[in-house]
Symmetry: C2
Subunit: 202 residues, 2 copies
């Protein structure tokens, strides 16, 4: 039985849970809580960065971060293909994943700005820097929402988790400006039931 160190609020854990669901692997993974805000000794031993998700494989090896875990899970069952094997298709999916992770990193830094700092010590320039990364990325995506052929891949699921996190922690403000992306996310949710099953809590 694999172990997934996780929290119900983490968008990066959500990526892994969706990947596991799409590959039919959920019954092989024991999802265990880890707390990145208190020094979590077990997590820190497995991943010294103290970050979730961290997957402990059947052989006891710790794998991270979420792109690595998702690619590993992709090798454990044949379909659907989350990581195209080679060529332009692979690097488009990987870059799409990096874009989704970059939106998440910026959105998380905005959450941390409030969580770790009293209001008088929050810095407008830093907040705007992160907000502009998100805004430019959404503009680009809304201009040409990335479709899929047979099934959504790792890049699509990462983007969906990024939008889901903007709903969860940033009040879904992106929706008013980007109706085409709202429609895209609805198509994704209809195609990938594990998206709806992993709605964040916390």
């Amino acid at each position: 039985m694999m172990k997934l160190l996780s929290s119900p609020a983490s968008p990066f854990v959500r990526k892994v849970r969706i990947a596991a669901g799409m590959k039919g692997l959920l019954n092989q993974i024991d999802v265990q809580p880890a707390d990145t805000n208190k020094g979590d000794d077990n997590l820190n031993r497995q991943n010294p960065l103290g970050k979730i998700p961290c997957l402990i494989t059947d052989s006891g090896t710790a794998l991270y971060d979420s792109p690595v875990i998702c690619e590993y899970l992709d090798t454990l069952a044949p379909a659907p293909v989350l990581f195209p094997k080679a060529g332009a298709e692979r690097f488009a999916a990987l870059t799409r994943g990096a874009l989704g992770d970059g939106i998440l990193d910026a959105a998380l830094l905005l959450v941390y700005e409030k969580r770790f700092r009293p209001e008088t010590m929050q810095v407008a320039g830093w907040v705007e820097r992160q907000q502009s990364k998100i805004a430019r990325s959404l503009d680009l995506l809304a201009n040409a929402p990335p479709d899929w052929d047979k099934s959504a891949d790792y890049g699509h699921l990462t983007l969906a988790c990024a939008l889901g996190y903007l709903d969860f922690r940033h009040e879904g403000k992106w929706r008013a400006k980007h109706p085409k992306l709202v429609a895209w996310l609805e198509r994704f949710a209809a195609a990938v039931p594990d998206f709806g099953k992993t709605t964040p809590v916390g």
Copy 2:
């Protein structure tokens, strides 16, 4: 001719330059400056996250972030293999890369804490959080520095760039506590001349 949007101080750009050097691809890449601190319109158009490195391929496609670019370059020439093709070896290399990138992310957040905030608005708890990620990671690595067989891979080069960045921006304070890692970095530098050729400037 590919284009690499870059800066001479970025450790993530350094990863790509080392990978390109190891693969014999430097003469196919035009390294162009980009400034992430001023709104750089060209960079923002290519990568809406406004982050470097960003590689523009011969077909005009923008690829990011550094793991994606390094894996792409790995497909353009046969040797040395930077990304093992499959199995435990591949996921060990990828996790090692994620560890190096995680050290870099924490080290960069420490730099940003000073760059974006006056001293009275810097938060000790946040700084300690990042420092502890780096300290635990170095303890783990020093305990068993990761050797290579025929040649260093993507994971090793990422770890070397992380240590190089701690030298560049954090006064090499890690060296006193970790002589085995110092020796490891010297072995890496001897095996991969492109490491020494990309010493950061800025």
